[in-house]
């Protein structure tokens, strides 16, 4: 039983309790009332997940700032709210107040659209993550058989916004940022997809929830070390955080594709960046570390998922803080010459495993 139906039945119960005969409302033979109820429930759920994911992003930004400051002998945000915890809110208010600057020769529509193309898939991606289950209730907004495909699709669409933003800015640095972003997407999506395919082969399903169930005995990181390695690197590259922050390399390309962005448009890029980090942490935890599966059944699965995702978030932040930037040729070499062959080897291994001891998983 999914969260969707759970909330639907609660809503139904409330309406029944209030003696509002809303659900069986028919119009011309069609159950319009039921559709409306479904739409309302879906909307409520998406809003809940969106709010929670934004809360997660706010926490992540705060943790990032404090952690970074701690490693760098600084104090970090400490003025707004208790221990500076409301700093991001203050920053958002500041960004909203800023003048909306668009370069005079920019492609205005594409320029305005780009931040949303980056942000929307990230926010949507959270809808597809299985967050755990409480007795028979799946904490998952949408549970249909092709969840993983949609997740990967969202993660591929998001960087397209960076390319669009870079190309439409009418700035040479942005252009270079967009080109690098394109090279990065092409170079790292292929090994990423191949390693996801091996997971799907091993689990025998496209559904994220089934993949989690398939890992109840043994998480996929053990049979698929190579795949995990490839996917993890591809995830760092997709987020474009150091050492792979080539599209927005601050010291070379003046923050690349986002050079011309300011105010809240830049703020959306910034939020999307951290949202993407949270999303990828959840995806890696789901695909390779068994998602919400945990050793003690009395502890809710959401707790395990959060712990697993937090491990990856900290690793991502640490890589951001500690590492330098690679050069474009080294970067593409890593993608094409090392990760792609490794992912293919991993595909063969998992295909062999699926044919021999596949039922065991």
């Amino acid at each position: 039983m999914d969260l969707f139906y759970f909330i639907l039945s609660i809503l139904y119960g409330i309406l029944k309790f209030l003696h509002i005969n809303f659900i069986p409302f028919n119009w011309g033979g069609y159950p319009v009332g039921e559709w409306i109820a479904w739409a309302i429930v879906g909307l409520v759920e998406v809003i809940i997940v969106f709010a929670l994911s934004m809360l997660l992003v706010v926490i992540l930004v705060y943790v990032f700032r404090k952690y970074m400051a701690d490693l760098q002998n600084r104090i970090g945000p400490n003025r707004v709210g208790p221990w500076g915890s409301l700093q991001l809110i203050a920053d958002v208010f500041k960004l909203i107040q800023k003048q909306d600057l668009i370069p005079s020769r920019a492609d205005r529509i594409a320029f305005k659209l780009a931040p949303y193309i980056v942000f929307t898939p990230v926010a949507l991606g959270f809808v597809l993550i299985p967050f755990g289950n409480i007795s028979i209730l799946n904490l998952m907004v949408l549970n249909f058989p092709y969840t993983v495909l949609f997740l990967i699709a969202f993660m591929i669409i998001s960087p397209l916004g960076e390319i669009i933003g870079g190309l439409s800015s009418h700035n040479k640095f942005s252009l270079y940022g967009a080109l690098r972003s394109a090279a990065q997407d092409i170079g790292y999506e292929v090994p990423m997809m191949i390693s996801v395919i091996s997971v799907i082969i091993l689990a025998g399903s496209y559904s994220a929830n089934s993949i989690v169930y398939a890992q109840r005995n043994i998480p996929f990181i053990i049979p698929e070390v190579l795949g995990f390695f490839v996917f993890f690197f591809a995830m760092i590259a997709k987020q474009s955080i150091p050492p792979f922050d080539l599209p927005e390399s601050g010291s070379e390309l003046v923050s690349g594709y986002s050079t011309e962005y300011s105010g809240m448009r830049y703020g959306i890029f910034y939020m999307a960046n951290f949202g993407f980090m949270a999303l990828t942490s959840f995806v890696v935890a789901t695909l390779y570390l068994g998602g919400w599966e945990g050793p003690f059944p009395f502890i809710p699965g959401l707790f395990w998922l959060l712990i697993k995702a937090a491990i990856f978030m900290v690793i991502f932040l640490l890589s951001w803080i500690a590492l330098g930037r690679v050069r474009i040729d080294q970067f593409l070499n890593l993608g094409w010459k090392y990760l792609l062959p490794l992912s293919i080897i991993n595909l063969l291994i998992s295909a062999g495993l699926a044919l021999t001891v596949g039922g065991w998983f």
Partner: protein, 368 residues
Amino acid sequence: MEDKLIEVNFGPQHPSTHGVLRIKVRLDGEYIVDAYPVIGYLHRNAEKLAEMGYYPKAMIYVDRLDYVASLNGELGYVLSAEKLMDIQVPERAQWIRMMLVELNRVASHLIWFGTHGLDMGMLTPFFYCFRERERILRIFDEVTGSRLLYNYFAIGGVYSDVTPKAIEMIREFTGNFVTKLEEIEGIFKKNYIYVKRTTGVGKLSLEDALSYGVTGPMLRASGKSWDLRKNQPYLFYKDINFDVPTRPEGDVYARFLVRLEEMKQSIKIVEQILTKLPEGDFYNKKYAKPMLIRLKANGESYVPTESPKGEFGIYLVGDGSTMPYRFRIRSPSFANLSATPVMLKGYKIADLTATVSSMDPVFGEVDR
């Protein structure tokens, strides 16, 4: 072919040009076809300003040349002016000068070290370097009264004596600086990404280096063991035991290693000075502060000194009046920067920032 090239202006407003360097780069994709540095955005004509005032007044303009190593600039000026006027300097003043100049060299290299990390995409070492630099600045604050622009060396000595508290601070600093530096350098040296990105990048051959008048750590990284403190010692450097680090490769990584070793050698020098610091006057009593503006000079002099960036000196021409007739600054960054096109041709955009930052240009000195 021609129309495929993109011309990009790196600077004057760019995060990794260390001020206001502008490099017109023609790019073929990611490759640099041609680089043309444009300077002058921080030009104040310090030479003309110095020629318009008394001899001691020029000190404030010298301070603002290499503003991260002001004392090195002051040293070049006072040595040249003292030679010009035949002024004797007490021994203690000379040892104090040596000690502070070496500390300032460490501070300057630390700034380079931190910003070099920033240019390579590493945020964190910057803060560690500035933490260490802060301790040096506190020492300078105690000795000279200011933290960045000191105006401390005077013609005929120094303005104030080094206090016992300052000596204690210097002792504490030299005691644990090298271990801390080694911690910081591990972030770079043990980082595969950094080493891979800097080896073989921004190569400058020895012939080119000499032809362009490149001096200092850059020349030493190109394989020439040339350090004025060793080869043509001034002050009391001949009484002090230290090594001149040299690397043959001539790339960014070699410059990194040379500067790193230089910091350790500077600390070694300071430690020796602390044991040898003599008692006595810290300035020549004949040239007390009010007397200085009456100084007159004839003739010309140029005393080369080894500043953190290379050979620094001021060519003074006097005409018998209280003001210098010609005040020419030999600035190492200027000469080093003129070799930029050679070092950039054929490399990639990412190597541009690495190379420019490895030159350690300071624009107060380049544009003067």
